[in-house]
Symmetry: C2
Subunit: 191 residues, 2 copies
């Protein structure tokens, strides 16, 4: 077990419907030491890759992405969620379905902050169905920038987002991949 | 002019209705060097104060608060916005009006992450009418924790939030206080 799997086993709460709550260190309260260790591990895995910018999505990815941007000394951009599809011409936008909240949002980035010269590392806390990550990849592609890859904290390996995005040729480095979890026993099995 | 006032003068965009956009370094794209300098300045101003936790509100306060938590080596909690007032008993909540979006949200923090032993430094990007900051102060008071003070990036000094909250006895350290701004000339005057 790595540091993150251990932290999830100790502090994660499993709720019915395959919901994993990591509010105590990642999603509501943030444990700086854990987040630093995560960013250092992504740095190690992407060592040698050119990265000019970090991209994440509001809100819970921002703390992770900030730590990563500090460590790599590059700017960070966070995509915004917007209910409206009436957006102006100055943004790239992509439609993202949230299975958790059963809603569809637009994710939006100003054209000023993604350019074709950029090499983008996408950072996010969760990967499940892959909708948010595909939306972010879509924004980078619209800008003609390069997707270096993604750094994900927790991947729900029993849902198919990671598999289908990797099959499209994108690199995803997930620090903890959950094979299964059980809200009755509270047990998480990692891949 | 300090570093932040200089950055605002160079990169801020003034829109009609006293809207200041700082998307290029603070609110959408984040310039890590600027944010680090801001956090170091708050550290200097609150030097000697006991601080056990940083509190902010999603989304655009999170990057600033993360930097501050790293520098002080304490955990960070971000309050969540919720449309519903049907909240469970496990949270502290406070009603906050947004003048920008003309909406009223609940701001919510799990009771687990604020305790009466805590000494809280509140961090946020903007202070105008003071609704968000008063909401966060209310959450801290509900928990019986101590409000050490607030660290604000940009205060709109021509609106009365800062004045009225200081009059209640709370300490606010704003790094740039705007006295007036003009969307026609693009000029910002600082206090």
């Amino acid at each position: 077990m790595n540091f993150l799997e251990k932290k999830i086993s100790e502090c994660g709460e499993i709720k019915p419907g395959n919901v994993l709550k990591v509010d105590s260190f990642l999603n509501h309260q943030i444990d700086i030491a854990v987040v630093r260790e995560m960013a250092l591990e992504w740095q190690r895995r992407y060592n040698g890759s050119k990265i000019t910018k970090i991209l994440t999505i509001e809100a819970s990815g921002i703390a992770l992405a900030t730590m990563m941007a500090i460590i790599l000394n590059v700017p960070l951009v966070f995509a915004k969620k917007s209910k409206t599809s009436n957006l102006d011409d100055n943004v790239y936008s992509s439609k993202v379905k949230s299975y958790t909240h059963n809603t569809t949002n637009m994710v939006v980035v100003s054209k000023k902050y993604l350019s074709s010269d950029d090499y983008i590392l996408i950072i996010d806390d969760f990967l499940a169905h892959g909708e948010a990550l595909m939306g972010l990849i879509d924004l980078v592609n619209q800008a003609g920038a390069t997707v270096v890859g993604a750094g994900i904290a927790i991947e729900k390996g029993f849902q198919n987002g990671g598999k289908s995005i990797r099959e499209k040729g994108y690199r995803i480095e997930s620090l903890a991949i959950i094979e299964s979890m059980d809200s009755d026993t509270g047990k998480v099995i990692f891949k």
